[in-house]
Structures are given as structure tokens and as C-alpha cells.
């Protein structure tokens, strides 16, 4: 009986996120066009600049397009995580967050539901993208499309949890540009999404170190290895650990006793 309650709550949150997603077609296309622009333009220009040696999990020389696809998949998930954090802040300003939080189910559970719903949306986007990439001759082994699913789940959870955590710190919607500059861009560029870490090391050993500690690098590598039917245990551990850390911190930040609301008051409280 109790389990049914929890399940209905989860399902209705997923249905709502799904409906909202379907209604916001611009959001869907933006999420898709962004990585395609990178693949179709940036990757072509960059191919000539960047020579790649054979690195795991690839068994042979590869074109840059092939290298960059897992990074772009992770980028989709990164943007999606930030997007859901943005919508949390928006919901909070608009009040619809309150509707969620007056549900009698525990708050941590409501946040986890919200997170899962966002992950599902990001997985759908990621699959549409790798399907399109197939036409760019980026063709991982067929089983790779299945093997990448757990990696997408884990990566989506980590980036979504990071979004949740950030949303608890952002007081107003306007501050979101700061998140772009200070979180999304550094995380993306200081990672193995666009160039392998050994390449970064040639330029700057310090930056290579940052990239190795950057959890986003590990999301990229997790996806890259899974897509080519390989496992990267280090990345899996790092991503799982970071997920637990981010989600735990987000739950604390939204705790009624000590979190955001109690510290600073509700949105209408400035008066």
C-alpha cells in the first residue's frame, strides 16, 4: 500500500516532466541542435588540428568525429542537468515548487523523483543524438547502444544531482548566467570531452590534473567506454561517488530544518 503511494508520486512527476518537455519543443530542438552544431562544424574544423593516437577503448585510429560524440552526449546531459536546475529555480520563483513540497511524502523522495524524471528526459535526448550521429558515420558496435544505457543513467544522475545542488544556492533566476560561466563552461572545457587528457597534458600538466579530477571527464569516459563495449571502473566509481555526494548535499540544502528556505525565507519574504 505504502509502496503504491510512492510509485504514484514518482509516476506523476515523470508524467509532468514528460508533458512539459513535449510542450516545449524549442527546448527539445535546442538540446539537439547544440551538439549537432559541434559535430557538424566544430568537429570538422578540429579534425585537421588534432591528431589522435590509438587510445582505449578504441582499437584503431579514429576520426575526430568519432572521438567527440561521447563528449557531446555528456554535454547533452550536462545541459539537461543545468536546465532542470534552472527549472527548479523558476518553479521556486513561480511558486509551483511549493506545490511539490507540500506533498506528504518525504522531501528527499520528492527530490529524487524530480531527479529521475530529468534523467529520463536526458536519456531520450542522448539517444536521439547518437542515432543522428550514425548518419555522420559515427557507428559504435550495435550492442554499444544498449551498453551505454547504464552509463547514461549514472551520468544523468550525477549531473542532475549537481543541478539540484546548484539550484539550492541560486537565489534568483538572473543569477543563472553565473552558473553557465562558472560551472558549465569550465566543466566542459577542462574535461576529456573535446580532447584526450594526454593532449591537454602536452599543453599544461596542471590543467590535465584538473581534467583528471573533473567528475565530468569521468562521465564522458564512462559513456565512451560503454559505447564501445568496454568498462572503465575508475570512472564508474568516481561518477557514482560524485552522485552520492551531490545528491546528499542537495537533500541537505532542501531540508526544511536547515536548508535554503529556512535560511533566507520564501520568495515573497523580501517585503
Amino acid at each position: 500500500m505504502n509502496a503504491a503511494l510512492y510509485w504514484r508520486c514518482l509516476r506523476s512527476i515523470i508524467v509532468r516532466e514528460g508533458l512539459r518537455f513535449v510542450h516545449q519543443r524549442e527546448r527539445f530542438f535546442a538540446a539537439l541542435v547544440r551538439p549537432l552544431v559541434w559535430l557538424a562544424i566544430f568537429a570538422v574544423g578540429f579534425r585537421a588540428v588534432l591528431g589522435l593516437s590509438i587510445i582505449p577503448p578504441y582499437g584503431t585510429y579514429i576520426l575526430y568525429e568519432e572521438y567527440v560524440v561521447p563528449g557531446l552526449v555528456a554535454m547533452i546531459q550536462l545541459f539537461n542537468g543545468m536546465q532542470s536546475s534552472l527549472s527548479m529555480v523558476y518553479d521556486r520563483e513561480m511558486g509551483s515548487m511549493k506545490t511539490l513540497l507540500v506533498s506528504p511524502l518525504p522531501r528527499w523522495y520528492l527530490l529524487v523523483c524530480k531527479l529521475l524524471a530529468g534523467v529520463l528526459v536526458s536519456i531520450a535526448q542522448a539517444y536521439v543524438f547518437i542515432a543522428i550521429a550514425w548518419f555522420w558515420d559515427v557507428r559504435p558496435p550495435p550492442l554499444g547502444y544498449l551498453a551505454v544505457l547504464p552509463a547514461l543513467v549514472l551520468g544523468g544522475l550525477m549531473l542532475g544531482a549537481l543541478g539540484l545542488l546548484l539550484s539550492s544556492f541560486i537565489k534568483q533566476l538572473e543569477n543563472f548566467a553565473g552558473v553557465m560561466n562558472f560551472v558549465i563552461f569550465p566543466m566542459f572545457f577542462a574535461s576529456s570531452a573535446l580532447y584526450p587528457v594526454w593532449r591537454i597534458r602536452e599543453g599544461s600538466p596542471a590543467l590535465a590534473m584538473v581534467a583528471e579530477f573533473n567528475p565530468f571527464t569521468h562521465v564522458v569516459e564512462l559513456i565512451r567506454f560503454a559505447l564501445y563495449l568496454d568498462v572503465n571502473p575508475t570512472s564508474a566509481l568516481v561518477v557514482a561517488g560524485a552522485t552520492v555526494l551531490f545528491l546528499g548535499a542537495a537533500i541537505l540544502a532542501y531540508d526544511p530544518g536547515r536548508g535554503f528556505w529556512a535560511r533566507r525565507g520564501g520568495p515573497a519574504e523580501q517585503a
Binding site: S12, V15, R16, S96, K98, P104, L105, L110, P256, A262
Partner: protein, 254 residues
């Protein structure tokens, strides 16, 4: 049947501060079943903080809140399950249909599909919007949206209905309709209502009134009792007398 021993809502010695600012200072009052209680206060009196605490947006620093005997801090699940809330800001999803909005809310409260369908039909019929169920909320007028929000708040059959300045943005006619509607719910279903407002004329004879000013309760009783205690005829005068010259009675006008 009324149960006089357990109040629908009990607020006891509730205090809350944000940093150095005290938002609520020793607030106590109770709302029995079937009572329409008007929480009267100017902007900044602490109404929104009080609502946030009663809906457990955050916990109070000191004091207690009980909903039908369930303590908000120790038994939040039981307490929240008995509360329906209409927030000041509109919180329906404008891109979803009326029914999708109701389903979402029902799901959040763990109701089954069959129960949601049945109660949604009932509540929509009560507010006369049955045939609009499949329309997007965006297509509804402000007054219709407010009524849908009230219907939504009643979907899980709460015993206490909280409304935070629910008539903001409504014209005089719609305002009266909404107030009538909630009074009827109170009468017919024995629902306890806490209605926060800064508009003095929203309190009717027979309603309970709690006057909140700068985080403190200045008066608590029926409209007649509050007026009698202040030694004046009308609630306007009572409010002006209670809150003193620094906060002219003008603030209470729509």
C-alpha cells in the same frame, strides 16, 4: 460531527527569525473544524512566513504546529496529508490541461487513478468547470484558475484548507464569488479554513479573526469579539485601534 477536543489547526508559541529579523514572535491561535478563520495583517506582518511554516516549507525555530493533533515536526506526513493549500502565486501549470494538473497533484498525494478521476469530476462539477477539464489552463480566466486551484487543494480531502491572499488579482465580483465558495465549503463539509488577507472587508460576521501585526498576534476571536474587545463598531476601526497610528487603517483597503 465536530470534535471539539482536537483542533484542526493549533499554532503554539511559534517564533521564527531570518538572521536578525524576527518574522514571528510567540504566535498562538487555533482553528476548529468548520471555522472560517481570517488571518488579517498588512504586508510584512508575517503571514507568508506563518504559511510557510504551516506547510513545512521550512521548520520553525521554536514553538509547535499541530494539524488535527499531528505535530508538523515529528509527524509531517500525517500533518501534511490533512492540509490543502492555495498559494498566493498561481501554481497551475499553464501548458497542461486542467485534468493533467489535477492528476499531477493527486499523484503527489499518492491517490490512485480511479480516485483522482472520480474526485476531479466531483470537484470540477462543484466549481462549474466540468466541460473545461480537457482545456489548457492558459485558456482559463483568472477567476476560473483560482477555483481550479481550490478544487485541486481539495482533491486529497484535507480537513484544513489554507489560502494565502487568494483574491489577489481578482475583480470585486470574482472576489466575492471565491469568498462565497470557500464559506460554503466550510459550512457544508465542516472544513477548517485559514484565509490570509490584508483586505479587512474579506472577514464576514461570524468568521474568526486573528490579527497579525509585525509578527505578533494582537487579537483573536470572532469578528464581533474582536470589535467588542477594542470597544469599536467595525473591524476597520478595531484594526486601526489595534495596530496603532503608525500603520494607518488605509493599508486595509483594496
Amino acid at each position: 460531527m465536530r470534535d471539539d477536543t482536537i483542533q484542526a489547526l493549533e499554532v503554539e508559541a511559534l517564533s521564527h527569525r531570518f538572521g536578525a529579523r524576527t518574522a514571528l514572535d510567540g504566535v498562538s491561535f487555533a482553528v476548529p473544524a468548520g471555522r472560517f478563520e481570517v488571518l488579517l495583517g498588512l504586508n510584512g506582518a508575517g503571514k507568508t512566513t506563518l504559511f510557510s511554516l504551516i506547510t513545512r516549507l521550512y521548520n520553525s525555530r521554536s514553538g509547535a504546529i499541530r494539524v488535527l493533533g499531528s505535530d508538523m515536526r515529528r509527524q509531517p506526513t500525517q500533518a501534511l496529508a490533512r492540509i490543502g493549500v492555495v498559494f498566493q502565486q498561481p501554481t497551475l501549470d499553464p501548458d497542461l490541461t486542467v485534468m493533467q494538473n489535477l492528476r499531477y497533484h493527486g499523484g503527489l498525494h499518492g491517490l490512485s487513478d480511479a480516485v483522482i478521476e472520480e474526485r476531479a469530476r466531483e470537484e470540477l462539477a462543484r466549481i462549474g468547470l466540468t466541460e473545461r477539464a480537457g482545456e489548457r489552463v492558459r485558456a482559463l480566466s483568472g477567476g476560473q484558475r483560482r477555483r481550479v486551484e481550490i478544487a485541486r487543494a481539495l482533491l486529497h480531502r484535507p480537513r484544513l484548507l489554507l489560502l494565502d491572499e487568494p483574491t489577489v488579482g481578482l475583480d470585486v465580483d470574482l472576489r466575492r464569488q471565491v469568498i462565497d465558495h470557500v464559506h460554503a465549503l466550510c459550512r457544508e463539509q465542516g472544513l477548517a479554513v485559514l484565509w490570509a488577507t490584508h483586505l479587512l472587508d474579506e472577514a464576514r460576521a461570524g468568521d474568526g479573526v486573528v490579527v497579525l501585526h509585525r509578527g505578533r498576534v494582537l487579537a483573536d476571536g470572532t469578528v464581533a469579539e474582536v470589535c467588542a474587545a477594542a470597544g469599536v463598531e467595525t473591524l476597520d476601526e478595531a484594526f486601526a485601534a489595534l495596530t496603532g497610528p503608525s500603520s494607518t487603517g488605509k493599508g486595509g483597503r483594496p
